[in-house]
């Protein structure tokens, strides 16, 4: 459980419902192998069951599956840290582990047969440096096409959109993504979930920013989750910047 005190770049949390048959396809492992990842295997137990009781029954089985996934990352040339948690509350666990391991990015692990086209959704409020930094590290000079799409909030937002997209394009090029692999797609503009989902379904994977205040809310009916549900592909979500990361966590209210 070594955690870098100063993360040198993006770090991805991969939450896997380890005992429910959820796993990572080879294509997703290959896509993410360029980044340091934390594979979080978790199992949600009903409240009648003590988490320790579930661990007593299924701990070894779960650890073995988790080790397999970690080994797949090593094989693909990457590195993976693993965490195994038995919990009553999956969202709380994902949130906590993401914070503890300083993962600024979290994967919604849908499968994909192969990944050659990645859609990157951009908004005015997004931290462009982080998104492009992530995509740059993720894609590099691999033969994967990146489509940059600005999601505008209103008509007159379109100009800002063009500026954002060209800024992002320049940053990606600086990060080593070949120009011929970068596309821009104004079609996704307009912002309705329908348009975004259609564009997402046309690609193999999506990169987008978390739009509201917590990982929890995004995982429960937030936009990125809906995009994942409609596109059926993996979605890499850049978490909102945790500037108050080191403030007193006891300030959070009691949850039941």
């Amino acid at each position: 459980m070594s955690t870098d005190e100063t993360p040198s770049g993006p770090r991805v949390l991969i939450p896997i419902k380890i005992l429910e048959g959820e796993t990572l396809g080879e294509s997703v492992v290959d896509l993410l192998a360029t980044l340091p990842v934390v594979v979080l295997g978790y199992h949600v137990v009903p409240e009648q069951t003590a988490p320790g009781q579930a661990r007593m029954g299924f701990g070894e089985q779960a650890q073995a599956k988790l080790d397999d996934i970690a080994a797949a990352f090593v094989e693909a040339g990457g590195e993976a840290e693993t965490r195994l948690v038995f919990t009553h509350d999956g969202a709380q666990t994902r949130d906590r582990v993401a914070d503890e391991t300083r993962c600024d990015t979290i994967l919604i692990p849908n499968p994909a047969p192969e990944i050659t086209r990645v859609l990157v959704l951009l908004r005015k409020a997004d931290d462009l440096t982080r998104v492009t930094g992530l995509v740059g590290r993720l894609i590099g000079d691999r033969s994967i096409t990146v489509t940059l799409s600005y999601v505008s909030t209103s008509e007159d937002d379109a100009e800002t959109g063009e500026a954002v997209v060209s800024d992002a394009t320049a940053r990606l090029r600086d990060a080593g993504v070949p120009a011929e692999n970068i596309r821009t797609d104004p079609l996704a503009s307009g912002g309705s979930l329908e348009t975004i989902a259609t564009a997402a379904a046309d690609h193999d994977a999506v990169v987008m920013c978390e739009s509201t205040s917590s990982v929890r809310s995004f995982l429960f009916g937030e936009e990125s989750k809906q995009v994942a549900a409609r596109s059926l592909g993996p979605v890499v979500v850049v978490r909102r910047s945790r500037t108050s990361e080191n403030t007193d966590p006891s300030g959070t209210s009691d949850e039941v």
């Binding site: 137990v45 003590a50 988490p51 320790g52 009781q53 948690v85 919990t87 039941v256």
Partner: protein, 483 residues
């Protein structure tokens, strides 16, 4: 008590008859999780509200909805004093229990503290007795439910030819709750919080109208004046022993100590807080009921006396509210106790004092079907055997077995404090040491002395059987200091 507590894994020859050794749950405790030796994490998900809800939800069924009539009959108007004595004893135990729980925030509660502080013989006696204590408590709540369900049917005009449906309804619901817990994976904790909220509202409403009525503002009843100690002092203590079942819930908070967030803060608050909340409500409720009706009439009305009392304040709306409250409260208490029983069985089976199979989880629902069956089965048998007239015995045996654990918890605290092992680092320290734990131990054991002979014999027999089982099955298991 030489205090030679060991840390780390226990020595090798600690297997039980089946060759199983204790599973050490966690080596590191954080606010958010327990981390085992292999780095597996067990998330803590129950906050302060959830902890209070477990404590209050377990307790509130008995003291207000079942006992007032019985207690008033036994102790007269001083029944309120019996409840107050119970509250004081519960507090004297809840404080030391809180210290132990913050030092060892693991599943199993009182059993865990005693087995780690005093060794596996005491652990086995307490752990197995706790299982049966909870079985008796659940049986008591279910019979209480039966009385309320019968009263509801009676008011709806449903009669079954004079045949009492208390026990059949208790059995039906006992079976239903057990099956529900095996197959249901819905989040019932949120429901439990809602139920506790509704109950608190009903009781506070009852107290408000009862208070207005007793000063003559509403209702037909006149304040009854009878001597407070109309039956003398001894029955007050006997009644305190009987109604102590109303306070068993706070220790159930400790059975899920491994799942409580920020245990150093939330465990003491939930345990002490739930005792204070229900203690105040009990005393006030009994006081209001006795002032309105007099103890003689309450005693005649029996287990569902509160329905008639509320009816006198508010007419049929009052009766309806108390009937609904009684059903909800007894079901919520029974359900919470069945769940605690399953946790208690898990705790002893994890430590190899029972076969590991007892805490097996089924793959389909992820629920501990064996342990739930070991809770539900004996409960149903007990309800059949003791029947509707066995309410007092059910309640007393439950209290007996819990009081033994409470007393020993206080002793374990003193033993640990006298020669503090390195690992002993509670976030909460009991105020007034050593007076509070000494008084807690003395009061717990003394209260047992005021119970009926039948209850004492049954309770004692269960403890002896537990000790016998330990010597037969698990005498080589070492638990002292095995954290």
């Amino acid at each position: 008590m030489s205090g030679e507590a060991k840390t780390g894994p226990p020595p090798e020859e600690t297997a039980n008859r089946g060759g199983e050794t204790p599973v050490i749950e966690g080596v590191e405790t954080t606010d958010e999780a327990t981390v085992t030796e292999e780095g597996v994490e067990l998330e803590r998900t129950i906050g302060l509200t959830g902890g209070l809800s477990i404590g209050v939800g377990t307790m509130i069924g008995a003291g207000i909805f079942v006992f007032p009539g019985i207690a008033a009959g036994d102790a007269g108007p001083a029944a309120a004093g019996s409840f107050a004595i119970g509250a004081v004893i519960a507090l004297l135990v809840a404080l030391p229990a809180s210290e132990l729980a913050t030092a060892m925030p693991k599943s199993g509660g009182g059993y865990y503290f005693i087995s780690r502080g005093m060794g596996s013989l005491f652990g086995a006696i307490v752990g197995l007795s706790l299982w049966f204590g909870l079985v008796f408590a659940s049986g008591f709540y279910l019979v209480g439910f039966g009385f309320y369900a019968e009263a509801v049917l009676g008011r709806l005009g449903v009669t079954l030819g004079g045949f009492s449906v208390v026990i059949p309804l208790a059995l039906l619901f006992g079976a239903f709750l057990t099956v529900l817990n095996v197959t249901g994976t819905e989040n019932a904790a949120k429901l439990q919080n809602g139920v506790v909220g509704v109950l608190l509202a009903i009781i506070i409403g009852f107290l408000t109208f009862g208070g207005l009525s007793s000063v003559g503002l509403i209702g037909e009843s006149q304040p009854i004046s009878e001597s407070f100690l109309s039956k003398g002092a001894f029955p007050v203590l006997e009644t305190a022993a009987l109604v102590f079942t109303s306070y068993l819930g706070f220790a159930q908070v400790a059975t899920v100590a491994g799942e409580i967030k920020k245990p150093g803060r939330n465990l003491p608050l939930a345990m002490v807080g739930s005792v204070v909340i229900v203690g105040v409500l009990y005393v006030a409720t009994i006081f209001v009921a006795v002032s309105a009706f007099g103890s003689e009439r309450l005693a005649e009305l029996g287990e569902t006396a509160m329905v008639t009392v509320a009816e006198s304040f508010l007419g049929s709306a009052g009766a309806f509210a108390i009937l609904v409250g009684g059903l909800l409260a007894t079901v919520s208490s029974a359900n919470a106790s069945i769940l605690s029983t399953s946790r208690a069985i898990y705790a002893v089976s994890k430590d190899a004092l029972l076969p590991r199979a007892a805490s097996r989880i089924n793959l389909k629902y992820g629920t501990p079907h064996v342990a739930l069956g070991m809770a539900g089965g004996p409960i149903l048998v007990l309800v059949v055997v003791l029947g509707a007239d066995g309410v007092a015995v059910l309640a007393e045996v439950a209290s007996f077995l819990h009081l033994v654990m409470y007393g020993l918890m206080c002793v374990a605290l003193i033993a640990l404090r006298r020669d503090e092992p390195e690992w002993y680092d509670p976030a909460f320290r009991v105020p007034g040491y050593p007076v509070v734990p000494v008084l807690g131990a003395v009061a717990s054991f003394a209260l047992i002395g005021f119970m009926q002979r039948t209850s004492q014999v049954i309770g004692g027999a269960i403890m002896l059987l537990s000790a016998g089982w330990y010597y037969y099955y698990a005498r080589d298991v070492t638990l002292r200091g095995a954290l």
